[in-house]
Symmetry: C2
Protein backbone atom coordinates (compact mmCIF):
# COMPACT_ATOMS: atom_id res chain seq x y z
CA UNK A 1 0.00 0.00 0.00
CA UNK A 2 1.29 3.43 -0.95
CA UNK A 3 0.07 6.38 1.11
CA UNK A 4 0.09 10.06 0.24
CA UNK A 5 0.46 11.03 3.91
CA UNK A 6 2.86 9.73 6.52
CA UNK A 7 0.37 10.63 9.29
CA UNK A 8 -2.14 8.31 7.65
CA UNK A 9 0.48 5.65 7.04
CA UNK A 10 1.65 5.68 10.68
CA UNK A 11 -1.90 5.38 11.97
CA UNK A 12 -2.66 2.48 9.61
CA UNK A 13 0.55 0.71 10.64
CA UNK A 14 -0.32 1.08 14.33
CA UNK A 15 -3.80 -0.39 13.84
CA UNK A 16 -2.39 -3.20 11.70
CA UNK A 17 -0.26 -4.31 14.68
CA UNK A 18 -3.43 -5.36 16.51
CA UNK A 19 -4.26 -9.08 16.32
CA UNK A 20 -6.57 -10.07 13.47
CA UNK A 21 -6.38 -6.63 11.82
CA UNK A 22 -4.73 -6.47 8.41
CA UNK A 23 -3.70 -3.41 6.42
CA UNK A 24 -7.02 -3.07 4.59
CA UNK A 25 -9.09 -3.27 7.78
CA UNK A 26 -6.68 -0.87 9.48
CA UNK A 27 -7.18 1.62 6.65
CA UNK A 28 -10.96 1.32 6.93
CA UNK A 29 -10.79 1.98 10.69
CA UNK A 30 -8.45 4.96 10.29
CA UNK A 31 -10.58 6.55 7.55
CA UNK A 32 -13.59 6.07 9.82
CA UNK A 33 -11.78 7.92 12.63
CA UNK A 34 -10.86 10.71 10.20
CA UNK A 35 -14.54 11.29 9.49
CA UNK A 36 -15.42 11.59 13.20
CA UNK A 37 -15.35 14.92 15.07
CA UNK A 38 -11.87 15.75 16.39
CA UNK A 39 -12.89 15.68 20.08
CA UNK A 40 -14.29 12.15 19.73
CA UNK A 41 -11.07 10.85 18.23
CA UNK A 42 -9.00 12.59 20.92
CA UNK A 43 -11.28 10.99 23.51
CA UNK A 44 -10.68 7.56 21.92
CA UNK A 45 -6.93 8.17 22.07
CA UNK A 46 -7.05 9.36 25.70
CA UNK A 47 -9.16 6.44 26.92
CA UNK A 48 -6.64 3.96 25.50
CA UNK A 49 -3.67 5.78 27.03
CA UNK A 50 -5.40 6.22 30.41
CA UNK A 51 -6.31 2.56 30.54
CA UNK A 52 -2.74 1.42 29.89
CA UNK A 53 -1.28 3.92 32.38
CA UNK A 54 -3.74 3.51 35.23
CA UNK A 55 -4.94 -0.07 35.16
CA UNK A 56 -3.95 -2.30 38.07
CA UNK A 57 -4.23 -5.98 38.82
CA UNK A 58 -6.07 -7.01 41.97
CA UNK A 59 -3.44 -8.04 44.52
CA UNK A 60 -5.65 -10.88 45.73
CA UNK A 61 -7.15 -12.51 42.65
CA UNK A 62 -5.00 -10.97 39.83
CA UNK A 63 -8.09 -9.82 37.98
CA UNK A 64 -7.98 -6.45 36.18
CA UNK A 65 -8.99 -3.68 38.52
CA UNK A 66 -9.06 0.09 39.02
CA UNK A 67 -7.96 -0.27 42.66
CA UNK A 68 -5.79 -2.49 44.89
CA UNK A 69 -8.70 -4.91 45.35
CA UNK A 70 -11.09 -5.59 42.46
CA UNK A 71 -14.87 -5.10 42.63
CA UNK A 72 -15.42 -8.79 43.28
CA UNK A 73 -12.85 -9.14 46.08
CA UNK A 74 -14.06 -5.98 47.83
CA UNK A 75 -17.76 -6.92 47.61
CA UNK A 76 -18.81 -8.22 51.01
CA UNK A 77 -22.08 -9.72 49.66
CA UNK A 78 -20.09 -12.29 47.66
CA UNK A 79 -18.91 -15.53 49.19
CA UNK A 80 -15.25 -14.78 49.82
CA UNK A 81 -14.48 -18.39 50.77
CA UNK A 82 -15.31 -19.81 47.33
CA UNK A 83 -12.68 -19.36 44.62
CA UNK A 84 -13.28 -20.00 40.93
CA UNK A 85 -9.90 -20.62 39.26
CA UNK A 86 -9.74 -19.36 35.67
CA UNK A 87 -7.08 -19.02 33.00
CA UNK A 88 -7.49 -15.36 32.10
CA UNK A 89 -9.52 -12.17 32.38
CA UNK A 90 -11.75 -13.07 29.46
CA UNK A 91 -12.97 -16.09 31.43
CA UNK A 92 -13.80 -13.86 34.42
CA UNK A 93 -15.87 -11.62 32.15
CA UNK A 94 -17.64 -14.65 30.63
CA UNK A 95 -18.55 -16.08 34.06
CA UNK A 96 -19.53 -12.68 35.49
CA UNK A 97 -21.82 -12.13 32.50
CA UNK A 98 -23.84 -15.23 33.46
CA UNK A 99 -24.68 -13.46 36.78
CA UNK A 100 -24.91 -16.92 38.38
CA UNK A 101 -21.67 -17.10 40.32
CA UNK A 102 -21.49 -15.45 43.73
CA UNK A 103 -17.94 -16.35 44.84
CA UNK A 104 -14.55 -14.87 44.00
CA UNK A 105 -11.98 -15.57 41.31
CA UNK A 106 -8.33 -16.41 40.94
CA UNK A 107 -6.77 -15.61 37.58
CA UNK A 108 -3.86 -17.98 36.81
CA UNK A 109 -2.56 -15.98 33.86
CA UNK A 110 -2.42 -19.12 31.71
CA UNK A 111 -2.23 -22.89 32.07
CA UNK A 112 0.73 -25.26 32.42
CA UNK A 113 1.95 -26.01 28.91
CA UNK A 114 5.53 -27.31 28.61
CA UNK A 115 5.33 -27.14 24.79
CA UNK A 116 4.74 -23.38 24.99
CA UNK A 117 7.36 -23.01 27.72
CA UNK A 118 4.79 -22.21 30.41
CA UNK A 119 5.59 -23.84 33.74
CA UNK A 120 3.92 -23.44 37.16
CA UNK A 121 6.33 -20.62 38.08
CA UNK A 122 4.99 -18.30 35.37
CA UNK A 123 1.45 -18.67 36.73
CA UNK A 124 -0.09 -17.39 39.97
CA UNK A 125 -0.30 -20.92 41.43
CA UNK A 126 1.84 -20.21 44.50
CA UNK A 127 -0.28 -17.15 45.29
CA UNK A 128 -3.38 -19.37 45.01
CA UNK A 129 -1.99 -21.98 47.44
CA UNK A 130 -1.00 -19.25 49.93
CA UNK A 131 -4.38 -17.61 49.57
CA UNK A 132 -6.27 -20.86 50.24
CA UNK A 133 -4.12 -21.57 53.31
CA UNK A 134 -4.41 -18.04 54.70
CA UNK A 135 -8.09 -17.38 53.98
CA UNK A 136 -9.38 -20.78 55.05
CA UNK A 137 -11.14 -21.21 51.69
CA UNK A 138 -14.08 -23.65 51.64
CA UNK A 139 -14.25 -24.55 47.95
CA UNK A 140 -12.17 -24.22 44.80
CA UNK A 141 -13.98 -24.52 41.47
CA UNK A 142 -11.73 -25.08 38.46
CA UNK A 143 -13.19 -23.41 35.36
CA UNK A 144 -10.40 -24.19 32.89
CA UNK A 145 -10.76 -25.09 29.25
CA UNK A 146 -11.25 -28.85 28.76
CA UNK A 147 -7.95 -29.86 27.18
CA UNK A 148 -4.67 -31.51 28.21
CA UNK A 149 -3.12 -28.25 29.45
CA UNK A 150 -6.20 -27.48 31.54
CA UNK A 151 -6.31 -30.97 33.02
CA UNK A 152 -2.56 -30.92 33.76
CA UNK A 153 -3.00 -27.63 35.61
CA UNK A 154 -5.92 -29.01 37.64
CA UNK A 155 -3.87 -32.11 38.53
CA UNK A 156 -0.81 -30.04 39.54
CA UNK A 157 -2.74 -27.60 41.72
CA UNK A 158 -4.88 -30.43 43.15
CA UNK A 159 -1.74 -32.21 44.38
CA UNK A 160 -0.42 -29.01 45.99
CA UNK A 161 -3.73 -28.49 47.79
CA UNK A 162 -4.22 -32.06 49.03
CA UNK A 163 -3.18 -31.32 52.64
CA UNK A 164 -5.51 -28.34 52.97
CA UNK A 165 -9.15 -28.80 54.09
CA UNK A 166 -10.70 -27.42 50.91
CA UNK A 167 -13.33 -28.96 48.64
CA UNK A 168 -12.14 -29.09 45.01
CA UNK A 169 -14.59 -29.21 42.10
CA UNK A 170 -14.56 -28.52 38.39
CA UNK A 171 -17.29 -27.09 36.16
CA UNK A 172 -19.46 -29.71 34.47
CA UNK A 173 -18.51 -31.03 31.04
CA UNK A 174 -21.27 -32.23 28.78
CA UNK A 175 -23.51 -31.47 25.84
CA UNK A 176 -24.05 -27.71 25.56
CA UNK A 177 -27.56 -26.24 25.53
CA UNK A 178 -28.57 -25.96 21.89
CA UNK A 179 -25.99 -28.61 20.98
CA UNK A 180 -26.95 -31.77 19.12
CA UNK A 181 -25.98 -35.24 20.29
CA UNK A 182 -25.11 -36.51 16.84
CA UNK A 183 -22.52 -33.77 16.29
CA UNK A 184 -20.93 -34.00 19.75
CA UNK A 185 -17.43 -35.49 19.90
CA UNK A 186 -17.10 -38.95 21.46
CA UNK A 187 -15.13 -37.76 24.48
CA UNK A 188 -17.75 -35.20 25.46
CA UNK A 189 -20.62 -37.62 24.91
CA UNK A 190 -18.89 -40.40 26.89
CA UNK A 191 -18.13 -38.01 29.77
CA UNK A 192 -21.66 -36.66 29.78
CA UNK A 193 -22.98 -40.23 30.17
CA UNK A 194 -20.55 -41.29 32.87
CA UNK A 195 -21.10 -38.02 34.78
CA UNK A 196 -24.89 -38.19 34.45
CA UNK A 197 -26.95 -36.29 37.03
CA UNK A 198 -30.20 -37.06 38.81
CA UNK A 199 -33.25 -35.67 37.02
CA UNK A 200 -34.45 -33.91 40.16
CA UNK A 201 -31.19 -32.00 40.40
CA UNK A 202 -31.29 -31.22 36.65
CA UNK A 203 -34.81 -29.78 36.83
CA UNK A 204 -33.98 -27.68 39.87
CA UNK A 205 -30.96 -26.10 38.12
CA UNK A 206 -32.66 -25.49 34.79
CA UNK A 207 -35.66 -23.75 36.33
Amino acid sequence: MIFSSSLLENAVNEFAKLPGIGKKTALRLVLHLLKQPENEVLHFSEVIADMRKQIKFCTRCHNISDKELCNVCSNSSRKQDIICVVENIRDVIAIESTQQFNGTFHVLGGVISPLDGVGPDQLTIEQLINRVAKENTQEIIFALNPNIQGDTTIYYIGKKLKDLPVKITTIARGIAFGGELEYADEMTLAKSISNRISIDHYISTVN
Copy 2:
Protein backbone atom coordinates in the same frame (compact mmCIF):
# COMPACT_ATOMS: atom_id res chain seq x y z
CA MET B 1 -20.64 -8.04 29.37
CA ILE B 2 -19.78 -7.21 32.97
CA PHE B 3 -16.37 -5.67 33.62
CA SER B 4 -14.42 -5.49 36.85
CA SER B 5 -12.78 -2.22 35.81
CA SER B 6 -14.31 0.93 34.38
CA LEU B 7 -11.02 1.76 32.62
CA LEU B 8 -11.27 -1.53 30.77
CA GLU B 9 -14.97 -1.02 30.07
CA ASN B 10 -14.42 2.48 28.61
CA ALA B 11 -11.64 1.25 26.35
CA VAL B 12 -13.75 -1.67 25.12
CA ASN B 13 -16.69 0.66 24.44
CA GLU B 14 -14.47 3.02 22.44
CA PHE B 15 -13.11 0.20 20.28
CA ALA B 16 -16.61 -1.22 19.80
CA LYS B 17 -17.66 2.08 18.17
CA LEU B 18 -15.39 1.32 15.20
CA PRO B 19 -17.12 -0.18 12.16
CA GLY B 20 -17.17 -3.99 12.06
CA ILE B 21 -15.83 -4.34 15.61
CA GLY B 22 -18.18 -5.90 18.17
CA LYS B 23 -17.78 -6.10 21.93
CA LYS B 24 -15.92 -9.42 21.90
CA THR B 25 -13.40 -8.29 19.29
CA ALA B 26 -13.00 -4.97 21.12
CA LEU B 27 -12.20 -6.85 24.32
CA ARG B 28 -9.63 -8.98 22.52
CA LEU B 29 -7.93 -5.88 21.10
CA VAL B 30 -7.94 -4.08 24.45
CA LEU B 31 -6.49 -7.07 26.30
CA HIS B 32 -3.81 -7.29 23.61
CA LEU B 33 -2.92 -3.63 24.21
CA LEU B 34 -2.77 -4.27 27.97
CA LYS B 35 -0.10 -6.91 27.37
CA GLN B 36 2.08 -4.54 25.33
CA PRO B 37 4.75 -2.29 26.91
CA GLU B 38 3.31 1.00 28.15
CA ASN B 39 5.36 3.18 25.77
CA GLU B 40 4.08 1.25 22.73
CA VAL B 41 0.46 1.76 23.75
CA LEU B 42 1.06 5.45 24.44
CA HIS B 43 2.67 5.69 20.99
CA PHE B 44 -0.42 4.05 19.46
CA SER B 45 -2.62 6.56 21.24
CA GLU B 46 -0.47 9.55 20.18
CA VAL B 47 -0.29 8.51 16.53
CA ILE B 48 -4.10 8.38 16.32
CA ALA B 49 -4.50 11.77 18.02
CA ASP B 50 -1.75 13.40 15.92
CA MET B 51 -3.27 12.09 12.72
CA ARG B 52 -6.69 13.51 13.53
CA LYS B 53 -5.27 16.87 14.64
CA GLN B 54 -2.69 17.44 11.91
CA ILE B 55 -4.00 15.82 8.77
CA LYS B 56 -4.81 18.11 5.85
CA PHE B 57 -6.50 17.70 2.52
CA CYS B 58 -4.57 18.67 -0.61
CA THR B 59 -6.00 21.99 -1.82
CA ARG B 60 -5.65 20.89 -5.44
CA CYS B 61 -6.83 17.26 -5.58
CA HIS B 62 -8.53 16.85 -2.14
CA ASN B 63 -6.45 13.79 -1.37
CA ILE B 64 -5.23 13.27 2.21
CA SER B 65 -1.93 15.03 2.74
CA ASP B 66 0.56 16.24 5.34
CA LYS B 67 1.03 19.55 3.52
CA GLU B 68 -0.89 22.08 1.40
CA LEU B 69 -0.14 20.05 -1.74
CA CYS B 70 -0.03 16.24 -1.57
CA ASN B 71 2.96 14.13 -2.64
CA VAL B 72 1.37 13.42 -6.03
CA CYS B 73 0.51 17.04 -6.86
CA SER B 74 3.93 18.31 -5.79
CA ASN B 75 5.86 15.62 -7.72
CA SER B 76 7.17 17.22 -10.93
CA SER B 77 8.01 13.84 -12.50
CA ARG B 78 4.30 12.99 -12.72
CA LYS B 79 2.15 14.14 -15.61
CA GLN B 80 0.29 17.06 -14.04
CA ASP B 81 -2.02 17.42 -17.05
CA ILE B 82 -3.64 14.00 -16.61
CA ILE B 83 -6.30 13.74 -13.89
CA CYS B 84 -7.73 10.47 -12.62
CA VAL B 85 -11.12 11.18 -11.01
CA VAL B 86 -11.92 8.88 -8.07
CA GLU B 87 -14.62 8.64 -5.45
CA ASN B 88 -12.50 8.50 -2.29
CA ILE B 89 -9.07 8.18 -0.72
CA ARG B 90 -9.20 4.36 -0.68
CA ASP B 91 -9.38 4.42 -4.49
CA VAL B 92 -6.29 6.66 -4.64
CA ILE B 93 -4.40 4.17 -2.47
CA ALA B 94 -5.58 1.24 -4.62
CA ILE B 95 -4.46 2.92 -7.86
CA GLU B 96 -1.15 4.16 -6.38
CA SER B 97 -0.43 0.62 -5.19
CA THR B 98 -0.50 -0.63 -8.81
CA GLN B 99 2.45 1.74 -9.51
CA GLN B 100 1.16 1.98 -13.10
CA PHE B 101 -0.41 5.44 -13.10
CA ASN B 102 1.80 8.46 -13.55
CA GLY B 103 -0.74 11.30 -13.58
CA THR B 104 -2.55 13.12 -10.77
CA PHE B 105 -5.85 12.55 -8.96
CA HIS B 106 -9.02 14.37 -8.11
CA VAL B 107 -10.98 13.01 -5.14
CA LEU B 108 -14.71 13.72 -5.52
CA GLY B 109 -15.58 12.76 -1.94
CA GLY B 110 -18.42 10.52 -3.14
CA VAL B 111 -20.68 10.08 -6.18
CA ILE B 112 -23.99 11.64 -7.12
CA SER B 113 -26.69 9.60 -5.38
CA PRO B 114 -30.08 11.32 -4.92
CA LEU B 115 -31.36 8.38 -2.83
CA ASP B 116 -28.60 9.01 -0.27
CA GLY B 117 -29.12 12.77 -0.51
CA VAL B 118 -25.78 13.35 -2.24
CA GLY B 119 -25.99 15.98 -4.98
CA PRO B 120 -23.24 17.59 -7.10
CA ASP B 121 -22.86 20.42 -4.56
CA GLN B 122 -21.61 18.10 -1.83
CA LEU B 123 -18.83 16.82 -4.09
CA THR B 124 -15.72 18.56 -5.39
CA ILE B 125 -17.11 18.72 -8.95
CA GLU B 126 -16.93 22.51 -9.28
CA GLN B 127 -13.32 22.47 -8.11
CA LEU B 128 -12.59 19.82 -10.77
CA ILE B 129 -14.16 21.92 -13.57
CA ASN B 130 -12.23 25.01 -12.45
CA ARG B 131 -9.03 23.00 -12.21
CA VAL B 132 -9.41 21.59 -15.74
CA ALA B 133 -10.10 25.07 -17.15
CA LYS B 134 -7.23 26.72 -15.29
CA GLU B 135 -4.57 24.04 -15.71
CA ASN B 136 -5.27 23.25 -19.35
CA THR B 137 -5.66 19.53 -18.52
CA GLN B 138 -5.10 17.12 -21.44
CA GLU B 139 -6.99 14.05 -20.21
CA ILE B 140 -9.49 13.09 -17.53
CA ILE B 141 -9.75 9.38 -16.64
CA PHE B 142 -12.85 8.42 -14.66
CA ALA B 143 -12.07 5.58 -12.24
CA LEU B 144 -15.46 5.29 -10.53
CA ASN B 145 -17.18 2.14 -9.41
CA PRO B 146 -19.29 0.61 -12.20
CA ASN B 147 -22.82 1.27 -10.95
CA ILE B 148 -25.68 3.69 -11.59
CA GLN B 149 -24.29 6.34 -9.21
CA GLY B 150 -20.87 6.17 -10.83
CA ASP B 151 -22.30 6.41 -14.34
CA THR B 152 -24.58 9.31 -13.34
CA THR B 153 -21.57 11.17 -11.97
CA ILE B 154 -19.56 10.54 -15.15
CA TYR B 155 -22.49 11.79 -17.27
CA TYR B 156 -22.96 14.92 -15.12
CA ILE B 157 -19.28 15.89 -15.11
CA GLY B 158 -18.92 14.99 -18.80
CA LYS B 159 -21.68 17.47 -19.70
CA LYS B 160 -20.04 20.21 -17.63
CA LEU B 161 -16.71 19.62 -19.38
CA LYS B 162 -18.01 19.39 -22.94
CA ASP B 163 -16.85 22.91 -23.95
CA LEU B 164 -13.32 22.39 -22.68
CA PRO B 165 -10.62 20.85 -24.93
CA VAL B 166 -10.00 17.82 -22.72
CA LYS B 167 -10.01 14.12 -23.65
CA ILE B 168 -12.35 12.15 -21.38
CA THR B 169 -11.89 8.41 -20.79
CA THR B 170 -12.98 5.80 -18.27
CA ILE B 171 -11.11 2.77 -16.98
CA ALA B 172 -11.88 -0.45 -18.88
CA ARG B 173 -14.73 -2.69 -17.71
CA GLY B 174 -14.48 -6.38 -18.40
CA ILE B 175 -13.65 -9.80 -17.04
CA ALA B 176 -11.10 -9.50 -14.24
CA PHE B 177 -7.82 -11.39 -14.36
CA GLY B 178 -8.41 -14.67 -12.54
CA GLY B 179 -12.15 -14.29 -13.13
CA GLU B 180 -14.17 -16.98 -14.86
CA LEU B 181 -16.48 -16.31 -17.78
CA GLU B 182 -19.24 -18.63 -16.56
CA TYR B 183 -19.55 -16.75 -13.25
CA ALA B 184 -19.41 -13.25 -14.75
CA ASP B 185 -22.68 -11.29 -14.71
CA GLU B 186 -24.39 -10.71 -18.06
CA MET B 187 -23.81 -6.95 -18.07
CA THR B 188 -20.05 -7.29 -17.60
CA LEU B 189 -19.78 -10.06 -20.19
CA ALA B 190 -21.87 -8.13 -22.72
CA LYS B 191 -19.76 -4.97 -22.19
CA SER B 192 -16.53 -6.91 -22.48
CA ILE B 193 -17.64 -8.26 -25.86
CA SER B 194 -18.89 -4.95 -27.25
CA ASN B 195 -15.74 -3.15 -26.00
CA ARG B 196 -13.38 -5.83 -27.33
CA ILE B 197 -9.80 -4.78 -28.00
CA SER B 198 -7.33 -5.70 -30.74
CA ILE B 199 -5.12 -8.64 -29.82
CA ASP B 200 -1.95 -6.68 -30.63
CA HIS B 201 -2.93 -4.00 -28.13
CA TYR B 202 -3.88 -6.65 -25.55
CA ILE B 203 -0.53 -8.44 -25.82
CA SER B 204 1.39 -5.18 -25.57
CA THR B 205 -0.42 -4.22 -22.33
CA VAL B 206 -0.21 -7.65 -20.70
CA ASN B 207 3.53 -8.06 -21.31
